[in-house]
Symmetry: C3
Subunit: 365 residues, 3 copies
Amino acid sequence: MKTRGCCASICQCFFEYSTPKILVIRSFKVGTLNRITQALVIAYVIGYVCVLNKGYQDMDAVLSSVTTKVKGIALTNTSDLGLRIWDVADYVIPPQEENSFFVLTNLLITLNQTQSHCPEVRHFFKLILYLTSDHLPSGVQTGKCVKYSAVDKTCEVLAWCPLELDKEPPNPPMLADAENFTVLIKNSIRYPKFNFNKRNILPYVNKTYLEQCVFNRITDPDCPIFRLKDMVTEANEDFQTMAVHGGVMGVQIRWECDLDMPSSWCVPRYTFRRLDNKDPVNNVAPGYNFRFAKYYKNGNNEETRTLIKGFGIRFDVMVFGQAGKFNIVPTLLNVGAGLALLGLVNIVLLSHAVCVVVMATVYIC
Amino acid sequence: MKTRGCCASICQCFFEYSTPKILVIRSFKVGTLNRITQALVIAYVIGYVCVLNKGYQDMDAVLSSVTTKVKGIALTNTSDLGLRIWDVADYVIPPQEENSFFVLTNLLITLNQTQSHCPEVRHFFKLILYLTSDHLPSGVQTGKCVKYSAVDKTCEVLAWCPLELDKEPPNPPMLADAENFTVLIKNSIRYPKFNFNKRNILPYVNKTYLEQCVFNRITDPDCPIFRLKDMVTEANEDFQTMAVHGGVMGVQIRWECDLDMPSSWCVPRYTFRRLDNKDPVNNVAPGYNFRFAKYYKNGNNEETRTLIKGFGIRFDVMVFGQAGKFNIVPTLLNVGAGLALLGLVNIVLLSHAVCVVVMATVYIC
Amino acid sequence: MKTRGCCASICQCFFEYSTPKILVIRSFKVGTLNRITQALVIAYVIGYVCVLNKGYQDMDAVLSSVTTKVKGIALTNTSDLGLRIWDVADYVIPPQEENSFFVLTNLLITLNQTQSHCPEVRHFFKLILYLTSDHLPSGVQTGKCVKYSAVDKTCEVLAWCPLELDKEPPNPPMLADAENFTVLIKNSIRYPKFNFNKRNILPYVNKTYLEQCVFNRITDPDCPIFRLKDMVTEANEDFQTMAVHGGVMGVQIRWECDLDMPSSWCVPRYTFRRLDNKDPVNNVAPGYNFRFAKYYKNGNNEETRTLIKGFGIRFDVMVFGQAGKFNIVPTLLNVGAGLALLGLVNIVLLSHAVCVVVMATVYIC
């Protein structure tokens, strides 16, 4: 009989529901405070967490692939090279990169270098260079001293001779025409969590349009073909000034997508920013340049090279953004935290009561 | 005496524990509803948050380093170049990149270009080209008109002459043999938050195996050597078709690691996807190609170049994934939110009660 | 009159505040347990979530742009090339990359290759090579057999002849001087959510300092110019050993920024790690190398090339980190969850009570 009673009591226990005995306070003041606090918390949960911050959505970061194609030709006229045409194979170095492309805008050229001996650049001159630019010894000293000019002697070095004269780049820049080059940026993105793919050539854009459009924030915001000068201008920079010493530009493509909405609302937003520092203070080796060489063999099977110190603008295509889609986990997480905050209401009111009690106690003491 | 009483009352207060007076309702209906709601919430917290979404884990994103090495040779036979062998130094351009490699599969070659004057490509022909391809002026007009063919005259330009004839790339592709090239992808990853390193050559894989294996999803899923054709086929594309105009392939390596489990369970998963758009509609400049040149000097120290419009497949190695490891903060965050949801039970039941009260009130009114 | 009563009752309802009737237990044991549990939860919420994990902050991931500039010259003396100077245009390949740079430290050179016929490398020898290195057929067999040496005949191949002899790279490495090369790494970062920009050349660093400083963790921790050997040494590797077969180094720049603090506290931290596997076990094709070629034309307008198997160190600059700034949403989320945990106190104590009840029931049964 005892066992039966025990089972019965466990059953009974299972079907029990316990709720606190509630004390209802009918007070204009406390009631209003209560409702206002509740309203604030509910407004926060619904308005801020749900509507503004989309707390009910699961998020995913973007995966992206970028290809670029630059077009345009430039004409230069110098004493070294004469009249010369530069096309895309000449000024894009290296010819392809993953998320970036470099356009040569200015250059210092040293023709017909061979491995041989030659007098080092004059010391005094070199000292100045050392303090003002990115000069470093360019060869190994042989120990001899030779004539550098009619009046000067310098140390002889084994190096690629003649040595490069590290001077300021031409101003205006040699490839000033580069401002009219255009670049087609093809970007396809993917949100792997939601199996969502899209590309920056939008479905309604047709081939005819693509063949003659140029990006313009107002008239052609969806054209993926950009004029180099326009990009630099949007970043509040002057193309010709930047072209002299080179620089780095960020082409930012932002894909903020709410996948609870129609997928056609998920479109790229382009912004342009200069990434390197143009501030003349604290700026060692300003701009962007690098040295590269073209190697030849002359009639005697001797290697010669043309050394080029190339200044130019590197455009880094940075794709970022996130997509959100309704998901029960973050929703419940946020609603749960919101409900817990509703509990704050009691604490606010109780702390009011506690205050009264404490002050009463103190008064009595 | 008052002070003493005050201290005593504060002490008393500290050791107080206040709990609501509980009203126990013994009702089959309310009790069952109560238990079912509780069971649902607990099932959600344990099943979904903990087991499926691993809400008790702290997460970290992957840091990755990739090196690639392509192998294989191709033979071409054209009127321009004769019989010619292509090896890795010829078809991988540039020779090394960070997370990507490009394999040349097709090309249009323009030999012996020099900076000189030549007649522009015929206008009518050019118009067609302008509308159907990515053609742009390739030189600067001198203002003269010269014979282009027996019957035609066109404007003379200063350019790299002879001009490239922008025609369709050969079909079948010139380096059709590229489908049998293999690539060794070495990928080492790191989860900095957990100080965890791993690489895609798994510990049990030995050197002998690595020297002869080729990735196969069923028989060799851990071999890091991939045949180019297999990768393209896995993405549901035809290699020879893709090779004609080129394209971009994504080699996705996913590292989803539960670091509460043995580290040998943390293995890479390979998937392959075509990243560029092959849809013939809305597709300006389809495929993937770029122009590059090899520069030579002839006997007169005059610069000549071979211009190559190279079509090929760029493989972007994309490493992603995240690792999770038990951490008290997200655990408590999720448990806290879960507990708050348990509070929902009361609200559900109370709202039931409120309904009754409201309806009663309305009825009375 | 009924309607009036109804309205009144709704009004009354609005100004109602219901609170549970509280039962105050004055017990030293239960009170102490209650306060200790509360103290633990509050300590967790304040100490761990707020102070250590900064649960009150909204987070953003870093966007970064990197440029690098290597300096230094090396001298080599080999029978093939004679005395030769290597400068930055010779040993950095390709001349510019986005987040990475490669420095050549060792090489195997095959001079004067032309497209022609030559005897294949001896079979037996080749078999050994096949098993021990990354050798693969280098040409297409013509079907003839020709003399390979005085005693041996091998198959004739159409290839770039003479064939490369795939042997071990020189040890010590040819460009041993590379250890003294320096690299200037310019890194500018951005936290887009907080519109915060910074670069690794800190404001107080002036031009004079930058022209002669070299990074040293103790004396010059903010100098962005790194000696290659120092970077490798910091990763507990030996430069000369690594230079023989090449390798991949990670230059990690961590930007952990608390944007509630002065922005001058947000500084980069540099760490260096070897990324490839140097473990001789399970290591196919150890180190890092790739083949590239320089193309020439000889007097007969015939193409020749110099094939270089270049070994070297690739430095991947990896920028990571996150910034936090006070934001109300994560704060409330964490506080909410913390409050819910305070609810645990009751459960702990109640479960204590339940225990007593259950045991009593069992005892009675």
